[in-house]
Point group: D3
Chain length 276, copies 6
């Protein structure tokens, strides 16, 4: 078996060696969610897994192996897609977890890793709606760890897009950036898919009338039951037309670079952090 950062493709003995070196374990958290007619439904899970893999590899390279990196199996179902960030959980194909299930799942996976020795954990989120639930899951895992006498665990929680810096945003969105919540199936996700999984994107579809009228104009509140009319017919919240593999590479590079810095900051013991 070839060397890999992916735990799923690693045998247990190799995993044990890495973990014994106090590896940083990344847990990608995605979703199974509609992403228009131009992309497959695995986007959130596939991109987060790929970004976690790239970050883990870059971390090892950047630290000359002082920090090992492992990517656990992704959580591939996510919290109910909300209308203002994912089009809504009423859309067929968007197969969602309830809040307590996602909390429990995140808790169990994090605690399972801790139980066997992981002490440096990064929960990398790739589905906007997940964040609060995996935060809660992480806290519950940490509490359970403490109740079991384990008090040297550190967990970092982040969404990968938060590591795309303002400069890059300006360059990639010359007509103005409408916020990460509206980026559902837009330029960022589509460009990254063109980079990592080009076979799961069909840019031809983005010319359809279905894609007219983007970005979506959504209320500054939620309604339940969901009012279907608020979601654009494609299910995308902003236009993917200007996506490209090159933009994908830029986005990956910038985000990975900053995530490596953040991970090193927290897990190399260099003291308190101030955003730069």
């Amino acid at each position: 078996m070839k060397p890999t950062v992916y735990m799923e493709e690693m045998d247990a003995f190799t995993y044990r060696e890495k973990l014994a070196k106090d590896a940083v374990v990344f847990i990608p958290v995605g979703a199974l969610e509609q992403h228009g007619s131009h992309m497959a439904m695995c986007v959130d899970a596939a991109l987060t897994k790929a970004m976690a893999g790239a970050t883990a590899e870059a971390l090892v390279a950047d630290t000359d192996g002082a920090l090992e990196g492992i990517v656990a199996a992704p959580i591939n179902y996510g919290y109910r897609s909300q209308q203002r960030s994912g089009g809504g959980f009423h859309l067929t194909g968007t197969t969602s977890l309830s809040g307590t299930t996602l909390i429990a799942l995140a808790k169990d996976v994090v605690f399972g890793l801790i139980l066997h020795g992981a002490r440096k954990i990064v929960l990398m989120n790739g589905h906007y709606e997940n964040y609060q639930f995996i935060f809660e899951g992480a806290e519950l895992a940490l509490e359970k760890a403490r109740e079991n006498g384990i008090d040297d665990v550190k967990i970092q929680l982040l969404s990968y897009w938060d590591f795309v810096d303002d400069e890059t945003i300006e360059a990639l969105y010359p007509d103005g950036f409408t916020g990460w919540d509206l980026e559902h199936a837009g330029v960022m996700e589509t460009s990254l898919m063109l980079l990592f999984h080009p076979d799961l994107v069909d840019m031809d579809k983005t010319g359809d009338a279905l894609y007219d009228g983007l970005p979506a104009e959504l209320p500054n509140y939620d309604v339940l039951p969901i009012v279907p009319g608020y979601t654009p017919p494609s299910g995308c919240l902003s236009s993917p037309v200007e996506s490209s593999r090159e933009k994908g590479a830029i986005l990956r590079n910038v985000a990975v670079k900053h995530m490596v810095e953040a991970v090193k900051h927290e897990f190399s013991g260099e003291g308190d952090y101030h955003e730069v």
Copy 2:
């Protein structure tokens, strides 16, 4: 007993009459949380209750009573304060609920109202961290309603600060606005407290050295266990110094005006909505 929109101060017979007129029932959701040394810990619960009361009253006035308004007892404990929006749940005084408890609490209160006839419900949030959990609670209540054969309920979920428009933000934050998450115990909350509960604010304290160095510079991720050093010593994330009762009145007026519009939009049956 004097007329009131507050359910807590209403007798049951009066409540039944209002509900029979298909009143909009507002549920304020707050927190018991440190807000620096210059404000009492009830800020999130007290302000949300006051804003809900003002919105309910304005709604009745604006519609000449066509839409009645009732404010249910507030949910006065909230989700774990997070470092990037509330300083962190490690701060003594910040007495937090876990995620599943807040979900269950929101579900029970919403369903309890539905069971007795409420069909128009507004969950008004006043603690940044609560939102996803009360969204989930609302969805569970709605599912339970449907399972009980009740399918004509509509729930609107909002955070009151999202109804302060850009124009007002520019006017009130001449030196630039750092986002609602950092507004914890800053100008907005302090000004509104000066308006609604001046006896629970002590502006003299805001001159303390404790308040130096604001706004806080926080990482673009979370860490668990919380790194106390990331939170400013006051527990405030931005400076309250420029707060005033006048700004409080402006904030209230603008937010209430827009909330009334949004509530009318959803509950007067005027069709789909597009943000303006």
Copy 3:
């Protein structure tokens, strides 16, 4: 801000000082429940908060500050009102929590206080039906405390009416006392409301025909679904006609006096207790 025993009206720094002195923290547990046409629906929450406040203040006075007192934000929703003690949860306005939600809520609030240093906690109940659920919540919080290595917490659980002594009962109920369960919206609660919140009582209403035939005669069992005919039309289980502010003062004075004794007994370390 003026000195207060109420945590909601206290800033976090003041709270920390009091807690550092090993303050007794009272948690009032009430309900949002119909109380006839002559009283507002906040009775259980409002009275318990007021009684806890009076007890906390008397405790400080009685011990010359040796025991500090703090009153946490009330739990203002309670367990399903039962027909034999509150008229029934079918009555519109009575907005109830399920058992597991109240258990979780009590657990979280108690543990949240413990986590930040509270070691002397009094759960003061003011809604008959709550007791077993908050007992369970307190036990779960205590177990969690122990699992976190905290083993010096003591929790006292009580219902304030149990501290009205027989002598006072005889004096206030010359025609015979029918038990605390039937006191729902009767002389005790109404008199205390006349004392603490006279603006939320309308004694004129108690002359209505609605109030005829009290006290209620209820079966010595429960039925589910509730049989509405078993509850008197007013929703009160005994007559409030003989209520007065004076009786309210007597009830408060007696109950507070005995609660202070009980709190001192448990939290001043004087050894085992035998009822006197």
Copy 4:
């Protein structure tokens, strides 16, 4: 197999015949709890099963079979014994369920019976501390039934001792009655055990010094963790010395008679009930 009211001793085909006749199904709810040195620990489960059996048989006899009676398998573990009614759950042998477990257990058993056709259910309680939790379980089962389109179920909840009338109490407790809560392992339970399970009682033990000083004098509140010194050394709260098989027969006869009346009242459709 001989005719029986006990479901455990009935084959499924016989059960189906009885259920098809709309039988009243009694669910005894007990506990596994210390009852001093003079009685076995099954008291609460064994007595409730026996009382339910006697009531079911009397119901059939009294109605000439118009109402069939079935006794389901008892719930033989109960809620945490509390100090004021059972001596406390700290006492070795008292093996208790948590609140949410008992709620879930009662819900599942009740709903399981409903699912197969039971429409007339009596939850008979024999452990003081259980009541609120089985009430909640019954309500949840009923809600689930309604959610499944079953809306003709009626559940009666009672504790068998509430059907011992005042006249009998006066006769059996000539020196005064201290309340059912203090009756733990006292005259009522011991006399009924002498009637139903004399081999599980050893009256000689009741002369031990261990039994001195009863009835117990307990505070009018609870403390957690339990203060062991508040419980008498025997674990009994009142003296069993005056117990006898004859008193057991009187107690059974009176309680069964009144329970049959109450069951007939609720399940024969004679309209509203007024206590007599």
Copy 5:
């Protein structure tokens, strides 16, 4: 009271003495489930209690009291009967628990025993479908024990039929053995009932046409909702015709013998085990 291994029939003081000697506590886990027209519905609970009793007694005898044995009150409701091992939970009379309830129940009972000092626990299963849920409950109890600083507990989980050896199977099933899952209400259970509870068996019924066509031929998968036609009309999965009290005695003797060996192996500290 006469000496007994059954905790239900033991007084608390006797129990404490046995537990102080580090007794092995057996918890029988059964079900309330149809077992054809020829047996009562308590089979799984009654047999497991009897087998646990016989094993506890044999253990004491075999070790000359070096290992004491106690049988806790049985868990007398079990997990949903499945079609391939119990005929299905749709069959009237089969009153089942949901998975989370059984997990919680097993956890509470095991932890309750641990809390008071039990360190050697045997969960003896008698209802095929229970196993995974009580395994989970046992693990949760163990985790809670560790979180409470108790780390010397050992729990053994077994199904009593797994201790019938191949030789005995061959002798008792001369026409071939179809597996323990199909043994529902067949020769093993019926023979053991004839041994332990002959009054709850009616062998005459086994000649009915209802019993034709056994053993059942069931798919190698499950279907939900259950397809009633897959279950034989009697509800038995294999024929009980060849059952006898003698076979019951042989089955008991063999299983008890091997269970005593296994219990001794685990609880006498003789090191690792290899199946023989």
Copy 6:
């Protein structure tokens, strides 16, 4: 995007078309679990996904598209590995879910699919220990469906190895077959991995001394906490030495053939089934 049965690689619009044709949706349920030093840890998830994909494709081919097939995203974490079927959850790398989490996860995924129109669902299990928990999750999803007025769902639950027939077993295991539970990381799993993911197998490792002494001899019971010495040092329960890609192809072909028959049997409406 190319045609596929995998939902993750499908866009939402294509999925909706297939679902509208009443497609059978397969949910693979696996685990992240050690499988010796010769295989990656994704075995259970990867094989089940591959087997589900092969079955879905064969189903479409076999029915000429009358039955469409879709494979949902796999559940890639499973229940705690048990010593007798997976070596034990104490083994580092085996990252397990608790029972209630797996129940909730299975429930949410199944109900999520139902909510959007799936009516024919196959839960395909590939981790021995999962079965009971996903059965429970499926039942809960079905109950929720019914409570939402959806009563035409059918769910088939199976483990793919149960469709390898006796003839094949005899041919592939000439030295005798020790049961599917002991097949953990043995010939079946290894051969299938050589077929589907040869890059994740290293047959050279199977000659290590680590692999001596297989198959494992395990007790006929479980112990908690796990006794590590009962598990062979490799973590495999039987020897993979005789594995080959050819055997993998035979296993796949046989199992897929029989699974297609079973799926057709249940979802083509041909009436009751009898095993052949």
